[in-house]
Amino acid sequence: MALRGDWMYENNGGTCVAIAGIDYCVVAADTRLSVGYNILTRDHSKICSLADKVVLASSGFQGDIRALHKNLAARHLLYQHQHNKQMSCPAMGQLLSNTLYYKRFFPYYAFNVLGGLDNEGKGCVFTYDAVGSYERVGYSAQGSGSSLIMPVLDNQLKSPSPLLLPARDAVTPLSETEAVDLVKDVFASATERDIYTGDKLEIVVINASGIKREYLELRKD
């Protein structure tokens, strides 16, 4: 932990997941905030509602994440004033990528997953690295538990190989309830084996009728 004078970052742990469906998007993150072997709080949201149909979940250094979310929310407000409409998910996706790359040489220590509905109302998930490389995918996991969760999602959501032609749609045919059930189970499993994931799970579902929030208790040890 911060023993060197020049180390500017801290990892506050946590895991984020997003799954895109035919007409919905599920974004979930645990609510544990930790430093080293200590828990700072069991009740900290990693999810930020950026627009009507756009939700961002980030794990990593919460100082940078707060700043990043604030930055994007401000940019969204400007966009609304200039264009008289809400930003679409793909537009926000590009904005986030540019914002991250802007700080290429002093990065935001943030591992992001952006979820929402695209202009056609279909589920839309973008996954990022710390400096803005992004890709539209059917589902993604980022954070301390990501390597525990991704293989399970790969198996269950049957992502078609990008090597196959013609290119197949990545959104899952699962229903909203089935996707939420999968997210809950996958987080309960990650909590068993990752010490930084736990306490509570916040699940946000975006569909045509708006944004809905749900919570699930996780192991607190």
């Binding site: 200590n38 828990i39 089935e178 809950k184 084996r193 010490i195 699930l216 040890d221």
Partner: protein
């Protein structure tokens, strides 16, 4: 007597490979991580004996390697030892001293004493200069009464009425410092130990899962494995998972048949040469 008499075996490590290891590290070798126990371990003395407690999580960095690991080790029928630090080290050192104590019991015809275990542990750890990363809480009841000691990786020891070790030691000690008093009853002692371990389990990320307790009194030892299970899994999908054959995408197939090996057998047995 032409040959030199054999030197007595020396204790401690052989440091012959140190230069080679340094060279490997310089050339970019990643040493494999040790499995550490994270851990909260405690012990306290009550009116009739000692109570030992431990959590059950073993970690490898940020991953839980074992959710129900036994950290209370057998030393003698009347002596048990909790271990924190590198799992292999705590296992090895307690197993070794336990065997030495048994041989000593046969040689002396007497029940083992806690100070014997203590001396064997501390001299072993000191000779390894802290490289054997074992931090122990040793407790037992012998002819001289109840005893509780802590042993540090470099070989120092303390004799205490209540003790905690491991990454969760501060959380557990906060409970002991608030609630410990002399002359606790058995039930009070067990409850206090369980409370201290739970403080470690919930507030320290290196500790977790279940509470193990061991109560040692005159002539009787009770090993209460999984005394409390305060962390059940919170959610399990009722749908379950099925893994049908052929789930892994096959992109291409190439079959190469194995050529039968032609053996030229010459006379004679190859091994005889």
């Amino acid at each position: 007597m032409g040959r030199m008499t054999e030197l007595p075996t020396k204790g401690g490590f052989s440091f012959d490979l140190c230069t080679r290891n340094d060279m490997l590290l310089k050339n970019g070798l990643q040493m494999p991580p040790f499995r550490k126990t994270g851990t909260t371990i405690v012990g306290l003395v009550f009116q009739d004996g000692v109570v030992l407690g431990a959590d059950t999580r073993a970690t490898e960095g940020p991953i839980v390697a074992d959710k129900n690991f036994e950290k209370i080790h057998f030393m003698a029928p009347n002596i048990y030892c909790c271990g924190a630090g590198t799992a292999a080290d705590t296992e090895a050192v307690t197993d070794m001293v336990s065997s030495q104590l048994q041989l000593h019991r046969y040689a002396t015809g007497r029940e083992s004493r806690v100070v014997t275990a203590l001396t064997l542990l501390k001299s072993h750890l000191f000779s390894y200069q802290g490289h054997v990363s074992a931090a122990l809480v040793l407790g037992g009841f012998d002819v001289t009464g109840p005893h509780l000691h802590t042993v540090y990786p470099h070989g120092s020891t303390d004799t205490l009425p209540f003790a905690t070790m491991g990454s969760g030691s501060l959380a557990a000690m906060s409970v002991f410092e608030s609630k410990y008093r002399e002359g606790l009853t058995r039930e009070e002692g067990i409850e206090l130990v369980a409370e201290a371990i739970c403080a470690g389990i919930f507030n320290d990320l290196g500790s977790g899962s279940n509470v193990d307790v061991c109560v040692i009194t005159e002539g009787k030892t009770e090993y209460l494995r999984n005394y409390q299970l305060p962390n059940p899994r919170t959610y399990i999908s009722s749908k379950g998972y099925t893994f049908v054959k052929g789930q892994t995408e096959v992109l291409s197939t190439k079959i190469t048949s194995i050529q039968p090996k032609v053996e030229a057998v010459e006379g004679g047995d190859a091994m005889e040469e």
